[in-house]
């Protein structure tokens, strides 16, 4: 620790910090542009000028840039010194010379860091009389808008896009006053994290295009803390609403998970909430498939009859909240409840939980991932299944550079210095995946094989590290290098997941982690499932597997099947689902979106989407996180657990009568030992801020309250009183940042309208939220014990080609996730269904890239792509897209050319 004096006041600071970080950590106001807590300092904008004094007798001092000045013990600085304040005003004046008169038609207006800093420095009068520089914009695709005139040349965009996220297609171009930030030509920004440019850019050069199409100012957005439903990472988000539409998703800072950044699936994948294909009414579907809205009461009468004295089977869902799943389980009973995971996936997650339960390896948070000094990825293309993990792995790869920097006494925030010193050297990262991935550029070495062969390689690595572990394949060069690099590391990380549908890779990853533990290292093991609540659903004690549930329905054993927020056609082969649904049982489906299962239901109930209800998701690390209702859905839409409650009532039952979400959470914690800690994830509904107020969902300048509903009725309705949460549906209350971190509905602070205000909500810049980082860990909290980490001894059999082609799953960041794929910006980037074949296999089948192939197991034809990295006799098949179910057939299939398959070029030619 160091003591610094700012304008005569004494403050504590961390030694090694820069002065800007130290000052902002004390929640003082000091303007800045180019510095970013996650990207360090470059000293490009000269905005954070302060006066630094030599000692207490020095009255003159000298001008210094806070972001590139290290904190010294006893340091004396001044923010308010007229010399520094004048300098900062001048800098803004120079930056504003070319800034266009755009604020009224700029999407950043009202949450613009440049606006905030201009006001803060006091620059209000334009003196420059010359002409303004202008630029032509580029079309950067469906996610990001470009308005180059507004640029102030802070370099944050390229520092994020290239240096932090590893993108290559955005760069700074030009010389002297002609610096241009864009692509070589028009085209979609290729990087999967491009959406963060919207938040990183301090002004309106990069804007959120889907948001712009239904634009609302930040002060008019009603928000609540939420958790991304896009994958199992559980990034924290702020979904925002106005006029009943979900307008956008912004990053919600979480010190241990997503930090300052989201992936594009999460940021642009929520527009399904506004989709016209939402189910909005309760109704019945007769045999002729015509949907008839019946109203809630009639639907509940019908449902009551279907449940009363009948054998009922309930299928939950890994995309529904823990609470809804538990409610369904309470309705149908443990022995008739299935968690809705596809059978293979359920086994894999059970295996992952078993591995974590045995201890021996830390379950890393993403901030933990970033500090790993060696990484091995085994069989999982994390960029497509848990994208945010890949961004953290990129930072882990930079660990070597930071280490070199610290050896050369370059502070960690001195970004350009460290990059120059390290000359691109990276920590060891090894990627063993089915196909080449888009993070191969950080890899020390890559290895491409079938999942089974990757598992065998993993077993071999563990054996190489520790001879007690089961042997895998004969050691080749890859195994040698991986074992050597991991063996030397102090904090090695093994990443795997359920994406390759191969239990062997999880076993091998566990073996490696345990072998490293035995050698005295502190290993971390990250196992990524691919849905928001896969872990939560798997932690419920369920009596039926999906196969068992479908079989019970098909055989006529059950009279009624209740399916909650689950499209069964994505979980099992169509023929089996068809057989079950057509067996004569009454089928009740509650879901938010129309899908194939809902099409086959007798009774359809409109379920709330994640932004319309309260609930808990459990992420890959077993962290239960509460997401809150952002807005009240219109019409008959209600949370699934409310439908279940009503159903129980209609069936004349007295149980399942929870008084609210808190009661349900408590019931769940009491009923499920594995979930006992979930009430700790968030404060109860009666939590009030220090001034005994609720927390407002609306900013204090929320406008239009007396006009927005006046077209319906000129008498304003009373705002709904929210009994379920500590939030209010109004602007009344306090959002000081001192409340628990899980209850921050938006970030704003006086003078700081932009998202940069988040530092006022943190204990120190880049640290935890003032009220603690959200979530309660359900597993791995005892820390690694390593005592009973017995190794796995049976590697899977090596892949042997034969007749036909064996399909292995790969995932697509845009398209493989069910809900985000129905968000229009993401849908516009989804690939067509495709399979990747080895060139020889393609030649034998007589197909070339762009042709279509089909087989009995797939209900749609798939486009052929060719890659020599695929093993002969195997083919990688993207899953989760229309027609391609997630469980692929476990036997080889006979692919054949589809002569009718339209080539992409032909479709384009036809328009």
């Amino acid at each position: 620790m160091a003591t610094i004096f700012v304008d005569g006041e004494r403050y504590e600071a961390k030694a090694g910090q820069n002065v800007l970080e130290a000052v902002l950590s004390q929640h003082l106001d000091l303007p800045y542009f180019c510095w970013h807590p996650a990207m360090g300092s470059v000293g490009a904008c000269r905005q954070c000028a302060i006066v630094e004094y030599a000692d207490e007798n020095d009255e003159r001092g000298r001008l210094a840039m806070a972001c590139i000045t290290s904190v010294r013990d006893g340091m004396r600085i001044s923010i308010e010194a007229p010399y520094a304040a004048e300098f900062r005003t001048s800098v803004i004046e120079w930056l504003m010379e070319n800034h266009p008169h755009d604020c009224p038609v700029c999407e950043e207006g009202g949450e613009c860091h440049l606006q905030d800093m201009t006001v803060m420095t006091g620059h209000s009068q334009r003196r420059y009389r010359g002409t303004k520089r202008t630029w032509r914009n580029q079309d950067l695709g469906p996610f990001i808008g470009h308005e180059m005139n507004r640029c102030i040349t802070c370099y944050r965009c390229v520092r994020f896009y290239r240096d932090y996220a590893g993108g290559t297609d955005l760069d700074a171009m030009g010389s002297r006053g002609r610096m241009y930030f864009g692509r070589v030509g028009d085209g979609k920004l290729e990087n999967e994290f491009s959406g963060n440019l919207v938040e990183v850019c301090p002004t309106g050069v990069f804007t959120d295009r889907p948001f712009s199409s239904q634009y609302t100012r930040k002060w008019d957005l009603q928000s609540a803390p939420s958790v991304c439903p896009g994958c199992a990472v559980g990034c924290n988000i702020f979904p925002s609403e106005r006029y009943g539409d979900l307008k956008r998703v912004h990053n919600r800072y979480h010190g241990e998970i997503n930090g300052y950044f989201l992936c594009d699936r999460g940021r642009f994948g929520s527009h399904f909430v506004n989709d016209p294909a939402r189910i909005r009414n309760a109704g019945t579907r007769a045999r002729d498939d015509v949907f008839e809205a019946r109203g809630v009461d009639a639907a509940m009468d019908a449902l009551g009859k279907m449940l009363r004295d009948r054998k009922v089977i309930g299928i939950g869902s890994p995309r529904a909240s823990v609470e809804s799943n538990f409610a369904l389980k309470s309705l149908v009973g443990r022995d008739s409840f299935c968690n809705g995971l596809a059978d293979g996936e359920a086994d894999l997650i059970a295996l992952a939980l078993d591995v974590h339960g045995r201890g021996g390896a830390r379950i890393p948070t993403l901030s933990d991932v970033e500090t790993a000094d060696a990484v091995l990825v085994l069989g999982e293309d994390v960029l497509n299944t848990a994208p945010r993990v890949a961004l953290s792995m990129r930072q882990a790869a930079r660990g070597r550079a930071l280490e070199m920097g610290s050896e050369a006494a370059i502070p960690g925030w001195q970004d350009a210095g460290i990059r120059g010193h390290a000359q691109g050297r990276l920590s060891p990262v090894f990627l063993a995946t089915t196909l080449p991935t888009r993070i191969d550029d950080i890899a020390t070495a890559t290895f491409h094989a079938t999942p089974a062969d990757i598992a065998r390689t993993g077993y071999a690595v563990a054996h190489r590290l520790d001879g007690d572990f089961a042997e895998g394949d004969a050691a080749d060069e890859f195994v040698e290098r991986v074992a050597a690099a991991l063996g030397e590391a102090k904090r090695p990380l093994v990443v795997t997941g359920t994406g390759s549908a191969e239990p062997g890779v999880i076993e091998a990853a566990a073996n490696i982690a345990w072998a490293l533990r035995a050698r005295g290292a502190d290993p971390a093991l990250l196992i990524a499932p691919h849905e928001a609540n896969s872990v939560g659903a798997a932690m419920l004690d369920a009596g039926l597997s999906l196969d068992g549930a479908l079989e019970a329905v098909r055989s006529g054993e059950a009279d009624t099947l209740v399916v909650m927020e689950n499209d069964l056609y994505r979980r099992a082969e169509s023929a089996r689902v068809d057989a079950a649904l057509a067996a004569g049982a009454e089928v009740v489906v509650m879901d938010s979106m129309e899908n194939a299962t809902a099409q086959a239901a007798n009774l359809v109930l409109p379920a709330a989407a994640y932004a319309e209800c309260n609930g808990t998701f459990v992420n890959y690390e077993g962290r239960a996180q509460r997401f809150y209702q952002v807005f009240e859905p219109g019409g008959e839409i209600a949370p699934s657990w409310v439908w279940i409650q009503r159903a129980a009532q209609a069936a004349g039952r007295s149980d399942c009568a929870w008084s609210g979400i808190d009661d349900l959470v408590r019931a769940c914690a009491d009923g499920e030992p594995a979930l006992a800690a979930i009430p700790e994830a968030a404060p109860a509904a009666d939590y009030r801020s220090e001034a005994d107020t609720r927390i407002p969902r609306q900013p204090h300048r929320y406008s239009g309250r007396t006009a927005m509903r006046a077209d319906v009725n000129v008498h304003e309705p009373k705002p709904t009183v929210d009994d379920e949460t500590p939030f209010s549906y109004s602007m009344e209350g306090q959002n000081t940042g001192r409340q628990p971190g899980s209850t921050v509905p938006y970030v704003w602070s006086p003078g700081w309208n932009s998202n940069q205000s988040v530092f006022k909500f943190q204990q120190e810049v880049g640290g935890s939220l003032s009220g603690g980082d959200p979530g309660a860990r359900l597993i791995g909290t005892d820390g690694p014990n390593g005592a009973d980490s017995a190794c796995f001894r049976n590697p899977p059999a090596a892949f042997a080609g034969g007749d036909g082609v064996r399909l292995f799953p790969v995932h697509a960041i845009f398209g493989s996730d069910e809900l985000s794929a129905r968000s229009w910006p993401v849908a516009s980037c989804s690939p067509p269904p495709y399979v990747v074949l080895h060139p020889e296999d393609a030649r034998e089948l007589g197909v070339e890239a762009g042709d279509g192939v089909r087989c009995d197991a797939l209900s749609a034809s798939a486009e052929v792509r060719i890659d020599a990295a695929v093993t002969r006799g195997a083919a990688a098949c993207v899953v989760g897209l229309p027609g391609l179910p997630e469980p692929l057939p476990s036997e080889a299939v006979a692919l054949s050319r589809d002569p009718d398959f339209p080539r992409e070029a032909e479709i384009i030619a036809k328009g």
Partner: protein, 172 residues
């Protein structure tokens, strides 16, 4: 005593003074052009809607009686309000909206006669607010000043703008 006499004298004097009562509505009082009465939305000199749906009037409004939604015109890229609603039953004619408006779109007029038997009739939509002229500022066109392009106004063509820069240029 003296005070009472003086009061009587003053009252007596008024018997011979001019009558100040205005016979409204037979006689209409004069309201200056900048009088703060009924709110209108104006058009720019080209006859296009001036309002760019920036929401500043809505946020400036102390009684929150303005609500609107931005949208974009496909053919030329102009921002405009999809709907624009003022609840005059809440409006206090303070003129903050006019002051906040960066495009001179929203203006207050000398028409103060806003009486209805039914409060619902006090809710004005865009079709009730939008007039066919520029109102008090006949020459101003926001799009001629803004840096954002619209159809018919390219980069570098707004007021005080240099032609678009060629970043590929290597000239010193």
């Amino acid at each position: 005593m003296w005070s009472q006499l003086r009061t009587l004298w003053t009252v007596f004097q008024h018997t011979f003074m001019r009558n100040e009562t205005v016979q409204y509505p037979d006689e209409m009082p004069y309201a200056a052009p900048r009088y703060r009465g009924r709110i209108i939305l104006t058009r720019d000199p080209d006859g296009e809607e001036r309002c760019v749906a920036c929401n500043l009037c809505a946020v400036a409004c102390p009684v929150d009686c303005i609500a609107l939604q931005k949208t974009e015109r496909e053919e030329d890229g102009r921002w405009y309000p999809e709907f624009f609603r003022i609840n005059f039953s809440r409006c206090i004619m303070c003129g903050m909206c006019e002051e906040a408006c960066p495009t001179y779109a929203i203006q207050l007029t000398p028409d103060f006669e806003l009486c209805e038997y039914n409060r619902d009739s006090m809710v004005y939509e865009k079709e009730h607010l939008l007039i066919n002229g520029p109102g008090k500022y006949p020459d101003y066109s926001f799009w001629g000043v803004a840096g954002k392009t619209i159809e018919g106004k390219d980069k570098g063509e707004a007021r005080n703008e240099a032609p678009p820069t060629d970043f590929r240029s290597l000239m010193p």
